[in-house]
C-alpha cells in the first residue's frame, strides 16, 4: 500500500469513525473495569471473607477453589466476548472507514 497523505482530522470527524470510537470506548472500558474488579475480589475475599471461602460445596472443593477457577473461566470468556465483537463489528466498521479514507477531505 502506498502511503499517500491522508486528512486525519477529516477521518477523525467522520460520523462513522466517531461511531466506532464511541462503541469501542464504552465496550472496552466496561470489560476492563469488570475484569479488574472481578480479579481483585479474589485477594480481598481470601483475606477478609475466609469463612465464605472455606465453605465446602463439592466434597473437599470449597468456595475459594471454585472462585479461583472461575477467574480463569471469566478471563477466557472476556477474551472470547471481545474477540467475537471485534471480529464481527469493529473490524467491519473500520474496513468501511479504510475503504473510504482517501475521499475524506
Amino acid at each position: 500500500m502506498s502511503k499517500q497523505e491522508m486528512n486525519w482530522a477529516a477521518i477523525d470527524a467522520d460520523p462513522r469513525f466517531q461511531a466506532l470510537h464511541k462503541k469501542k470506548t464504552t465496550f472496552l472500558w466496561g470489560l476492563m473495569i469488570f475484569s479488574v474488579v472481578y480479579y481483585f475480589l479474589l485477594p480481598i475475599g481470601a483475606a477478609y471473607y475466609q469463612d465464605l471461602f472455606k465453605i465446602k460445596v463439592w466434597g473437599p472443593v470449597n468456595v475459594g477453589i471454585v472462585f479461583a477457577l472461575s477467574e480463569f473461566v471469566v478471563a477466557w470468556t472476556i477474551a472470547a466476548v471481545y474477540a467475537k465483537r471485534a471480529n464481527k463489528e469493529f473490524d467491519t466498521m473500520a474496513q468501511g472507514i479504510i475503504d473510504d479514507a482517501h475521499n475524506m477531505k
Binding site: A47, A79, D91
Partner: protein, 691 residues
Amino acid sequence: MNLKLIAGAVALAMGSSLAFASAGAVADEFKWMTFMVFGAIIAVTMYITFWAARQTHSTSEFYAAGRSVTGVQNGWAIAGDYLSAASFLGIAGLISIYGYDGFMYSVGWLVAYITVLLVIAEPCRNIGKYTLGDILAFRNNPKASKTVAALSTITVSTFYLTAQMVGGGVLIKTLIGIDYHISVIGVGILMLAYVVFGMKATTWVQIVKAVLLVTASILLVLITWGQYGFSLPGFLQAAVDNPGIQKQVAKLIGDAATNMTPQELGQRFLEPGLFLKNPIDQISLGMALVLGTAGMPHILMRFFTVPTAQDARKSVIWAMGIIGGFYVLTLFLGLGAAMHVGPANILALDKGGNMAAPLLAQFAGGGADSVLGNLFLAFVAAVAFATIVAVVAGLVLAAASAMAHDIYVGVIKGDHASPQEQVIAARVSSVIVGIMAIYVGIAAEGQNVAHLVALAFAVAASSNLPAVFLTLYWKRANTYGIVAGMLVGAITAIGLVMISPNMTYPKAVLKDANKVLQGEPAQPAKEATPAKPASSFMCELFAMDGCVKSEPAKAAALEKPAKPGAAEKLAQLAEKVAGLEASLPTLTDPAALKTAQDDIAKVKKDIVATEKAKAKAEGDLKKFEGQTTSMMGLEKPYFLLKNPGLISIPLGFLVVILGSLLFRDKRSEEMWDELYVRQNTGIHAEGATAH
C-alpha cells in the same frame, strides 16, 4: 486406587529422592539422558535458527521477523516468552508447599493479558514499528521519548534478566549438578546463538519451548490426576487425606494446629492464608501484574511480528488459552507433588519449592531408581533449561533493540542510518547485552534476586504503561508528561523497593543466626489474641513515628521448652544415632529392625539439615559482623510492603497527567488525530515484508 499401594510408592519415592540431594536432582548415571533430551532441543532449534538466519537481512526481519509470524505462532511464542522458570517451576512449587495460596498467586499472571488484549496489543501493532520507543515517539518528541523509553526498557529487562540468570543458574545446579558459573555462561552463549539471528530464531525457540512445556505438563497431569478418574473432588480428597500434607499444614500454622483433626489440617491446605498474609501487599502485586505485563518491552515487541492487528488479537487469545490452561494444570502438578513427593522432601532440595514439578515427573515415571522416572525427570530438567534460554533470549532482544534502534539509530543518528548499518547495530547490541547478562548473572551469584521479577513488573506498570496508555488514548498527553511520568514512576518503584522488606537487614539476619547457634529460651504459654489493625492506612504502608503496627490474630500457645543451640543439638543427635546403632544387633524382629533403621536415617537427615543451618548461620555472622544497617542505611524496612505498585503506579499516571497539563507540546497535539485514527483503523500500519 489402592491406598496402600500409593502410600508404599510415596514412601519409596521419599526415601530414594533424598539420596542425590547434594549432586543435583538428576542422578549421575542418568545425566546423559538430560543432555540427550536437551541436545535434541538445541539441535531442532538451531536448525530452525539457521533456516531463519538465511532470511534475516533487513531491520524489519531482525526485530520483527519480517512481520510474518502468524497469530497462532505468535500466541505460542508469547506463552514461551512469558512462562519463565519462575512460573513453571515456582508456582507448582508454591502450590506444593502452601496449597491454595500458590494457586491464587497464579491467577494474576493470566488476568494481566486482559489488559494486553483490550487496550495494548492492537493499537501498538497499528502504530508501532519495533520498540516501545517507537510507540511513544509517534506523537511525542522522538529523541526525548526514545531516550526515556530505552532507559526504562533496559532497566526493566535488566531486573528481569538478572532474576532469570541467577535463578536459572541455581536451578540448573540443583537439577543437574552443573557448576553455577558454567550454567550461567552456557545459558548466555546458547541464548546469544539465537538472538544474534534476530526475532525469527528467537520466536521459534520460544514456540518450541512452549510446546514442550505444555506437553510435559499435560502428560504429568494425565498420570497424576488420571489415578483419580479425573475427578476433582476425588483428587482433592486424596490431598486432604495425605499425611505429608497434614504435617506440612501443622508446621505452617504452628500453635493453631493443636486442636485440629488430621482431616481439618488437610482441608486447611485448600484454604487461603498459608502463604500470602498481607492483602494490601497482594493487591499491590496484583496491580503490578495486571498493568505491568502490558508494559513489558519484550511482550510489546511480540506484537510487531505479526502482519496485522487482527493477528495481534488472535495471538493474545491463543496466549491466554495456553497460559491460563497451563496455570490450571499447575494446580494438579503442585498438589500431585505435595501428595507423592511430600512438601518436606521438596523443601529439602530447594527452599523455594522449585523442585516440585521435576520430582513429580520422576515419581510419575516410576521413581528415582527407574529408567522411565529418570527419563521424565531428564525431560523436565531439559525443558526448564530451554525455558530459561527462551525467556532470556526475548529479554535480551528487547534490551538490544532499545539500545540499537532507539538510542543509536533514533537518538544518535537522528534516524539517518542505512538499513545495513541498522542490522549491524542490532547484532552488536545483542552481543553487548548478552555478555552483560552473563556478567550480571555471575556478579549477582548468591544474592537475593527473587524480588527483582516483581520489581520489573512494578517498573513496567508505573513507567511504561501510563506513558503508552495515555499516549494512545488521551488527547492532551504530551512529551513533558511522558518523560516526567516515566522517570518518576520508575524511580519511585525502585526507591520504595530499596527501603522495603525485600532488602537484607543485618540486624534481623544476625538475630536469626544467633538463635540458630545459641538456641532459644523457654517460652511460657500464651493466650489467644485477636487481630489488631494498624492505627491508620498509612501505617500499613510506612513505618512512621507514632504508628501502631497491625498484627494478625494469634492462637493460644502452649508452653514451649527451650531450644538448644546448633552445637548442642548436633551432640544430642549424634548420641541418638549411636544409641540406635548400638541397639541394631539386639533386634531380631524384622519389623523392629526396619523401624530402627528408618529412625537412624531420619536422625541422620536431621543432622545434615542442622549442620547446613549451622554453617549458614556462621557464614551470616561473619558476613554481617558489625553491620547494623541495610544498603540504604536503615535498621529495618521503612516501606512495609514488598510490592511498590500500590503507590508508584498511581503516581506514574498522575505525573504524566500533571506534566501534560502544565506544559504544552504542539507536535503531540497535532499528531493526535493521526494517531487515534491509525491506532483504530490500521491505516498505514507497517506491513509485512514480502519474500
